[in-house]
Symmetry: C2
């Protein structure tokens, strides 16, 4: 009677699911029902321009300043999507019963825009963020939308607030699209109302001095995500449980947690994907990263690094299950060449040490570069793509 019932589930079945590395290969941004359209966008300019903070990395920290405007688009089950609006930055009026405040029915994205040569505004793979956000929204029963249309609305927002996009090297404009459930009733169910909004903030370099290696702690008591969960989606609920474990490891001199499963399967570091550059047991160089098994975030920087390094053709590039025991063995035997994380906020994050089971394992890096050779090379390459004068398929000048 229930034969093939598992096929009833239209979302991923992550107990078994393994994504291919081509998560971003087919960027279908379309929407099966009517989406909002960028051609309907209305713009209301602010009457009170905000004083911009100075381009000082110590002041312009991540997420501290907002720009003059924001983009908002409301949705209701009855009326569908409203017209997109760019309006002066403001607080939202949110009903105390709203589902976003009780059940975390909310997801977001993180992307960056850069000021490039000739004063152009450049976005980096924003279409990938649109794609991933659509997956997150669907997983939470939030409304789907046309990703290309949202991207065009965001481009308009960047144009309206273009003076906020810093022109100093290492500085950028962080883009935060967010989709929250606004149903004004307390039942745990698909929200009949939602708000999509996009805010911008100017950000300095993550580390003022360029790169800076971090110490990571292998957390063996808390997990970020498990098979069958939502670790593969950028949903709000993945983040709150990481706040306390971060505070705790910072107390003992580490910068981030390395997330694993109880069996030692390595997943992520803080909010970064992980890379291990090592010699394998045959002495061949290989770059290894945990495969997208549904428990880790399909990072856009991760995907970019895989494509860049595969293109280099200098060493093997492998997505596979990685266990902490292998990592430790590789460090102890001297086969580990370097370790780093990747993410939108940091770009590349070298790792200098990992703490595991009451021991600290130091990882090599070039103290002049403040990174391993490969991490440094990748950081430079990515920075050139993002802010350089040349065209690149990942860049859209607007």
């Amino acid at each position: 009677m229930l034969r093939n019932i598992s096929k009833v589930f239209t979302y991923q079945t992550p107990f078994k699911q393994i994504y291919s590395f081509s998560y971003y290969a087919n960027l279908d941004l379309s929407c099966p029902y009517p989406s909002f359209q960028s051609r309907d966008l209305t713009i209301t300019h602010t009457m009170h321009y905000i004083t911009k903070p100075p381009c000082d990395p110590k002041i312009m920290t991540f997420g501290a300043f907002h720009t003059d405007h924001l983009l908002e688009i409301d949705w209701s089950e009855k009326m569908g999507w409203s017209r997109p609006q760019i309006v002066p930055f403001k607080s939202f009026s949110i009903h105390p019963f709203a589902a976003c405040l009780h059940y975390a029915i909310e997801c977001f994205e993180g992307a960056k825009a850069y000021r490039g040569a000739n004063n152009t505004i450049r976005t980096f793979r924003l279409n990938c963020n649109m794609y991933r956000m659509k997956q997150s929204a669907k997983r939470l029963s939030l409304p789907d939308f046309d990703g290309a249309e949202l991207q065009r609305c965001i481009e308009q927002l960047l144009k309206v607030d273009r003076d906020w996009i810093p022109d100093r090297p290492g500085f950028s404009c962080y883009i935060r699209p967010t989709l929250i459930a606004t149903e004004e009733a307390l039942g745990v169910r698909a929200s009949s109302r939602a708000r999509l909004f996009v805010v911008l903030c100017p950000v300095g370099p993550y580390f003022p001095s360029g790169l800076k290696p971090v110490r990571v702690f292998c957390n063996t008591s808390t997990i970020r995500s498990a098979p069958g969960g939502v670790g593969g989606y950028k949903v709000a609920g993945n983040y709150a449980p990481t706040v306390l474990p971060l505070k705790e490891v910072q107390k003992i001199g580490f910068h981030q947690n390395l997330w694993m499963l109880p069996d030692g399967l390595v997943q992520e570091m803080g909010v970064c994907n992980l890379f291990f550059f090592q010699k394998n047991e045959k002495g061949e160089k290989e770059l290894v990263t945990p495969m997208l098994d549904g428990t880790i975030l399909p990072g856009i920087m991760r995907d970019s690094i895989l494509e860049i390094t595969r293109g280099m053709g200098k060493f093997k590039v492998i997505e596979k299950k990685v266990y902490i025991q292998e990592v430790i063995e590789s460090i102890e035997s001297g086969r580990m060449i370097e370790m780093f994380g990747s993410g939108t906020a940091v770009s590349i994050q070298p790792i200098e040490a990992i703490g595991y089971n009451d021991k600290i394992y130091e990882v090599k890096y070039d103290t002049k570069l403040n990174a391993g050779e490969l991490s440094h090379e990748l950081f430079d390459l990515l920075t050139k793509i993002q802010t350089g004068a040349e065209d690149h398929k990942w860049i859209k000048s607007i």
Copy 2:
């Protein structure tokens, strides 16, 4: 160097942790730093009383109506807790960067107040909700508070809105304390600002006709929570991922998901704890419920049922690891007497069938009672405690 590092973690280490059944035995509601005080509470009465909905179970559905007032208390790292305020019900002004909208740094509680004999307002084990909320808050690095003080403030709110508490059997007033992070910056970190608020809503009986058995589907592709996660806390992020799986099983004729781990370890049903009343292999009657292993919510109704049935002394009452294979075997061999869920919203929820691996297993219940005998007896007992004329240690008349 890192010896005993695991002791650095002050929160639970759930990979190994097993709570005892006495989660609510020691209700320490104190707070190590200055809390808000109920004696500082200010009350601003509304000028515009809202028309109350009729006491019709079809209209007064769960979470649809709010009362005239709400309680709010703000916190900031710098200033600590503000004075508690009861104010006319209103929407909140929330900054688009607020951590509650991006990272689900938010937790809540669910309790009920009843109108008892002599028109008294009675709360049921509200101190347990206060205790659990303190644990949730600490787990998310949200500010701690004195639970007894919050309880007194809630009692004041119930008094102010006492006309909203229905006097019909089966009706009650649902109490929703909520604590949200309101830091206006995008970094993933402990919030330096928070808002605690409490809203009330009048609710009809969950099922207008008293009890009604449900069909539950054993979800083998999605999990609610895993060891090392936050399933043992009432945090917002546990709920959003359950919305889509619920929609999906409802499409195929089930009412709820039964949550398990991939190895078949049974956890919860929808938003209820689970109970299995059966004969064991020796022919002895026993009431079994999954033990609090850190992945399931320490339900207050669950705790109450355990205490009541242990007091009856009629059969064994056991908290242990329960695997789905055992449950199926018990049903198939005719040993399962009845199955039910428990929760604040439903009180007792009889189960009539479970779907597992393409088969449906029917569970016995008395079609006249619309429940098994034990479920029915427990439902009656709990209802009498909640709304009856007699005093009970779980009841506080205010």
